[in-house]
Symmetry: C2
Subunit: 387 residues, 2 copies
């Protein structure tokens, strides 16, 4: 806290300083006390920033997928009101004369390998991850030594309500984020803790531990080499499937699982262990899960970066024997949104699994490649586990 | 993760892509993989950002206390190298044509009621909070219902190594952040967990639980009313001392402590409970601590916003009976840096406590009003607790 800040400190009793004429309200993702962004009743949002000498200020929604020019008002602040937004979570940035950074009015979330502003657009759909007066689990950040990487690494663990007081042993869901995100994603953006608190309180899911590690291990975001437009999705995805995420696979199976089983009151067998993830993390869940059916009986792939075209040979042939896979996997869950850019390869994967007789739960939902969808997938997936 | 990001995904084996000619290296606070900021051997730092159409780009160190003009290089990126910096933690921002925001190359930290870039300048002095291969405690974020505010509130808890495995009960240090920061400050900026892990591993501190709540409760940062320059520090500080932080006092003493004692294996008496904080949090620790000597036997004030001028009447007379205070308080610890803008009122407080015969540990260290100092204060304070 800087000098200039503290000498300005006074204590006031502050009411709804930000009350607006049109029933708009600050987003839940705003910094406490920040008036903007404002959500309007039609779910459009108004953004406002200070940039006194700027020539051009833009709002970049969804990491630049849609762009709004902001306009300088009479008060000198730059402002724009968006079209109505979908309920749920949106990444966004503000670009000032070519400098893309975060909006000082919003909390940030780790995405695209940087700290990015987030906007939560609330709606009745948000109820399943609302912070309610039920028993709450706890999210822990903890460190352990990975022999694979030689690093002290951080992971997050959700322990369910009652964990500390009981002597019960619990099943474990290993749950992974997407490319460019990190181990905080499932708690910060995903609200895994509130989703599970609410599911457990209503007895829809069994109490479980959830572990989040950093899946960017051995994975680097780089410009793709030039290639035909039609293969721009497939080539890197096929590459990921063959690569097998060797380094992260070893971190999970050799280092993380033994540490978790030694440190937490787990049920340390495959029947009580699940692996799931979103996007990159979904690709990792399928790859690492199939590679370690001795360790996992449940796999969840949320909008996964997969394209299974040859069940006899993909994943080094681990899907070739359908009967054996069906006997070993108690659940293979695959979901994708109808507006997701990965819809085609994932749907093709589903169809090829069907043809090969590999049992799986298939969910084709509405929505794009966004956390709004992945939260719902967790709420669908978790109740099916450990039954 | 946006569409444009994922189609650019390829997996590469990346070495030290950022290796520099002059032995400079990315700061520990950089985003993984981010080349800049770079720390040089003389502890100067080079910052580099993209702002293609900008007219004026500045680096604002320590929330604007010192400013550097950045210069556009031939590659189109804006760059500046600072003078040598003090080892430790620095808040900073980048201002682009009047838009002050964070540097996409660095992790952010909550300060001045926004998400602010942080720069850690490592040195041998950093060893006491380094992540070492010792037993690690865990930092939990957890929610509870406060009757005082009617809110579900989040707090952070450090539990020491071995907490989960043992049946021991532990003493508790309640440890608070400064104005404009939040309950994450002592883990994110302060590294309370590594400081305690290392102290406990070397048997210099007793294993203890640390709890961090949000002390901005009922406290709002507002422009101060006009007043003579000489009273710009004193007036709000005196106001805080008289106010007594009524709302936060009730949260801590009526809601938080009972919840912690009911939820964690604590030693639930005053002899095993300490309250400390930095700056605003230091003011709160003294005020709330003196108001609840039935609950706390140890008080720590790190660069506190206090100015004790009248021990007979300040804090509603709770310091008036020196013998009684000395008998009740097993430790009153007060520290301030020689370059801290609060040096004068805090030193005056120390002198007046001395005159009144109120026992306290007095530490006048080097340093300013920064986390670099407060980490060291925790490392000095914690070993004195619960002896």
């Amino acid at each position: 806290m800087g000098i200039k800040r503290l000498v300005l400190l006074v204590i006031v009793s502050c009411g709804l300083c930000w009350a607006q004429a049109d029933d708009s309200h600050p987003a839940p993702t705003n910094i406490p006390g920040a008036e903007y962004p404002q959500i309007h009743p039609d779910l459009s949002a108004t953004f406002r920033v200070r940039a006194d000498q700027a020539q051009k200020v833009q709002l970049l929604m969804e990491l630049g997928q849609s762009t709004y020019d902001m306009v300088k008002g009479e008060d000198g602040l730059w402002e724009v009101r968006t079209k109505p937004l979908l309920p749920g979570f949106h990444y966004y940035e503000v670009s000032v004369d070519g400098f893309a950074s975060n909006d000082p009015g919003s909390r940030v979330f780790f995405a695209a390998m940087k700290e990015v502003s987030g906007l939560e657009v609330p709606s009745p759909e948000s109820d399943f991850f609302a912070v309610k007066d039920v028993s709450h689990g706890t999210v822990r950040s903890q460190w352990y030594l990975s022999k694979t990487t030689g690093q002290l690494r951080r992971f997050f663990v959700y322990t369910p309500p009652g964990y500390d007081e009981s002597t019960t042993r619990y099943p474990v869901l290993y749950l992974q984020h997407g490319a460019g995100e990190d181990e905080a994603g499932w708690s910060d953006q995903g609200h895994e803790n509130f989703i599970l608190d609410n599911l457990i309180a209503s007895r829809k899911a069994k109490p479980m531990i959830i572990v989040n590690e950093n899946g960017m291990t051995g994975v680097h975001l780089q410009p793709a080499p030039p290639q035909p437009a039609s293969s721009r999705i497939s080539a890197p995805i096929r590459q990921m499937m063959q690569d097998g995420f060797t380094l992260f696979d070893s971190v999970v199976s050799n280092d993380l699982i033994p540490f978790i089983d030694a440190t937490f009151r787990t049920l340390p067998d495959r029947e009580h262990r699940a692996l799931a993830g979103l996007s990159l993390g979904g690709a990792q869940a399928v790859s690492i899960g199939l590679n370690h059916l001795d360790q996992f009986a449940y796999i969840g792939a949320f909008s996964p970066a997969i394209e299974i075209s040859d069940t006899a040979n993909d994943y080094h042939g681990r899907l070739a024997n359908a009967a054996r896979v069906n006997q070993q996997l108690r659940l293979l869950w695959i979901g994708i949104g109808s507006d997701d850019f990965l819809l085609e390869p994932v749907k093709k994967s589903h169809e090829n699994l069907e043809k090969a007789g590999i049992k799986h739960v298939w969910v084709e939902s509405s929505g794009a490649h966004v956390w709004t969808v992945w939260r719902k997938y967790l709420a669908d997936f978790a109740p099916r586990l450990f039954r």
